[in-house]
Amino acid sequence: MTQHDMTHPHDAETQGSLKSYTIGFLFSIVLTIIPITAVLYGWAEGMTNTIVLMTAAVLQFVVQLIYFMHLREEKKPRYNLVTLILGLIILLVIVIGSMWIMLFNMVAT
């Protein structure tokens, strides 16, 4: 960042190549089609179905982060990575905490 260039912090931006964007796009399309067809045609039921959907969702998340959010190419200090980890921790706290509080609720159950 030059000294007088104060309105746009450019240095954090990273650009992918056409190849990486294409690969990312294909991955994300495939990972969208799998759960849709799984639900439409009823491939699996119950627990298996849940696992398929969940796995596709998590992989989709990873694909987005790597190919479009450029998480791997970040220079130090890795603020984006730290924020992501913190976000995941808080997400886990929300989900696990809510389940713990609500499922062990003696009034509700």
Binding site: M6, P9, Y79, G87, I94, S98, W100, I101, M102, V107
Partner: protein, 654 residues
């Protein structure tokens, strides 16, 4: 035709209450006055160019603080009305449903539309100056944040005269906030007012994190940053992780009300307790969001007025970061009585008590900073001292409340009411006042009158203790919150009367503050130094009020209290008078889009409230068009030529 208009108006406008008719008249008169004044003095162009379209962080900050003061007035009047109703047993000043509306709007306005904008105002005014930056990272976004907040707040306040106010408490617990029990539009005003301003809060959080991480002056390592930006950083981290929870929760409540979903209803598999669980995941971090910046302000003030370096800088930083994260792990202490069992309650009681440790560390740091300092007692320092005493009481009653079994006794009693006012007025409001008095000279170029300021301080403090200390006792005597009236046989009336008198004293204190501002403007004594308090950080190194580009040349930072060290250096060896080399300064251009886009949001929100689909759709289309127009606008910045900088600097420095 006329009959149709009449029946529409009688439902659309709130009717039947003389207090509200009075408000109607005063609102209309104020609007006429403003329009007339702007036209008469030909100020419309000035208003548009200098304020409505500005992206200058200092002006946005001033608008935030001004809005916060107006909202403090409205919330304060609500509070006084409640206290008047409770002054004696069996009063009929307010009808029960009106009383419900007033405690609801009092809470929402004080937290979301007074504390938050006051805080964002101080962020805006101070952070870029303290870290040696020329604006925030995203100036356009900053303006958009402000106008979203402003129109969200206006939408919420509109419910007072149009449609009816929300009345289900400041967090709108279902099932009472569901359509089944609350069919009016008040609750929809609540949802959309908060949602629209919530987008703004989230964007401000992102904006300041980026500003602090990316735009510090050369040489300012994170560990050399002043304490206020640190507190802003910790507060913004909590903002970006907690506000999405609020948005999602209110969106679910909206789906329940608007589309008949069953997330929080009593039937159809819904569970109202889930709402309470979710809303407090935002609600608890929220109280730390507003108090952390106040801690930063106290740190700056203590070290300035004790003329000492802040004691325990590193422990202060870690304490704030720990509080910021730990605030996400305590939410269930707001509903110990929900009945989640001993394990859950024990866990959340422990995490709650843990927070007292970093907070205690901070209090000791402030005390040790003052130890053997040459303390002077100007108003910012007075508020800081007042805070330490007040917050100590509030913090200790908080630890009492965190004991889960005891909480079954305290829960939703006046003990709780006294506790959170003790921490929020004693911690947050005192802190923002301290900050406002401290940075006022930097904002406007003159100090506020000290004598009237001291009157205001003492009225606030005496009023505070008179108002809230009796409430602790009332709570233990069994008086519950949100109670509209009580009988003579309860034995509560003496303490309630004292409490009301205390509230009145705080009302007078607010008038003192208004008078203080008016008086100081009239008897203006311009501060020529730019450094009236003998400050320690970079904002005092430039003239007041700061020029629109802040720093003619960006400072080189080498130590923690850079400006203090610089003054020492200059004393040792007088400054070599070689004028610093100026370069053209890159600045953002003003834009009307934030204002217009927020108006469209307002229209869309109003459409949602009254279920007028045509207005909702046109509002949202307007929002989308504004986004598109801004996306294709490449003319967003310019350079200030060196000649202009020289001229401005010469004019300011004389």
């Amino acid at each position: 035709m006329w009959e149709n208009v009449k029946s529409f108006a009688s439902e659309f406008f709130v009717t039947g209450d003389p207090l509200i008719y009075g408000a109607d008249i005063s609102i209309v008169l104020t609007i006429i006055g403003i329009v007339f004044g702007l036209t008469y003095f030909k100020k419309w162009g000035w208003l548009w160019r200098e304020w409505l379209t500005t992206v200058d962080h200092k002006k946005i900050g001033i608008m935030y603080i001004l809005s916060a003061f107006l909202m403090l007035f409205r919330g304060g009047v609500d509070a006084l009305l409640m206290r008047a109703q409770l002054a004696m047993p069996e009063l009929n000043l307010l009808a029960p449903d009106h009383y419900n509306q007033i405690f609801t709007t009092h809470g929402v306005i004080m937290i979301l539309f007074m504390a938050m904008p006051f805080m964002f105002g101080l962020f805006n005014v101070v952070v870029p100056l303290q870290i040696g930056a020329r604006d925030v990272a995203y100036p356009f976004l900053n303006a958009l944040s402000f106008w979203l907040f402003f129109f969200g707040a206006m939408l919420f306040n509109l419910s007072f005269v149009i449609g009816g106010s929300p009345d289900s408490g400041w967090l709108a617990y279902p099932p009472y906030s569901e359509r089944m029990f609350n069919p009016g539009v008040g609750q929809d005003f609540y949802i959309w007012g908060i949602q629209i301003s919530g987008i703004g809060s989230l964007m401000t959080g992102i904006n300041f994190i980026v500003t602090i991480l990316k735009m510090r002056a050369p040489g300012m390592k994170l560990m050399k940053m002043p304490m206020f930006p640190w507190s802003v950083l910790s507060s913004c981290i909590a903002i970006i992780f907690s506000f999405p929870i609020l948005t999602a929760t209110l969106a679910l409540l909206f789906l329940d009300r608007y589309l008949g979903a069953h997330f929080f209803t009593l039937d159809g598999g819904g569970n109202p307790m889930m709402y309470i669980n979710l809303i407090w995941m935002w609600g608890h971090p929220e109280v730390y969001i507003i108090v952390l910046p106040a801690f930063g302000i106290y740190s700056e003030i203590v070290s300035t007025f004790a003329k000492k370096k802040l004691f325990g800088y590193k422990s202060m930083v870690y304490a704030m970061m720990i509080i910021s994260i730990l605030s996400f792990l305590v939410w269930a202490h707001h509903f110990f009585t929900m009945g989640s069992g001993a394990d859950v309650n024990a866990f959340f009681a422990l995490t709650t008590m843990l927070i007292a440790i970093p907070t205690g560390v901070k209090v000791f740091n402030w005390l040790f900073t003052m130890f053997r300092g040459k303390i002077t007692f100007e108003t910012p320092m007075l508020w800081t001292l007042g805070f330490i005493v007040c917050f100590l009481v509030g913090g200790m009653t908080g630890v009492l409340l965190s004991v889960a079994p005891a909480d079954f006794q305290f829960h939703n009693s006046y003990f709780l009411v006294a506790h959170f006012h003790n921490t929020i007025i004693g911690g947050v409001v005192f802190g923002y006042f301290a900050g406002l008095y401290y940075w006022w000279p930097k904002l406007f170029g003159f100090k506020l009158n000290e004598r009237i300021g001291k009157w205001a301080f003492w009225f606030w403090n005496i009023g505070f203790y008179a108002c809230f200390m009796p409430q602790y006792v009332l709570g233990l005597m069994g008086m519950t919150r949100r109670l509209v009236t009580y009988g003579w046989d309860k034995g509560w009336w003496e303490m309630n009367l004292v409490s009301t008198i205390g509230a009145g004293l705080m009302g007078i204190a607010f008038l003192f503050q208004v008078w203080q501002i008016v008086y100081s403007v009239k008897h203006l004594q311009k501060d020529e130094t730019g450094d009236p308090w003998n400050g320690r950080t970079l904002e005092w190194s430039i003239p007041s009020p700061a020029p629109y580009y802040n720093f003619a040349t960006l400072p080189q930072v080498s130590s923690q209290d850079e400006w203090w060290e610089e003054k020492q250096r200059r004393e040792r060896e007088p400054l070599s008078l070689a004028p610093p080399k100026l370069e053209p300064i890159h600045m953002p251009k003003n834009s009307g889009i934030p204002f217009v886009m927020s108006m469209f949001w307002f229209a869309a929100g109003f459409g949602f409230v009254f279920d007028w689909l045509w207005l909702t759709i046109s509002g949202l289309v307007g929002v989308a068009v504004c986004m598109l127009v801004h996306s294709f606008n490449y003319d967003t910045d310019y350079y200030i030529p060196v000649e202009d900088i020289k001229r401005t600097e010469a004019a300011i420095r004389g």
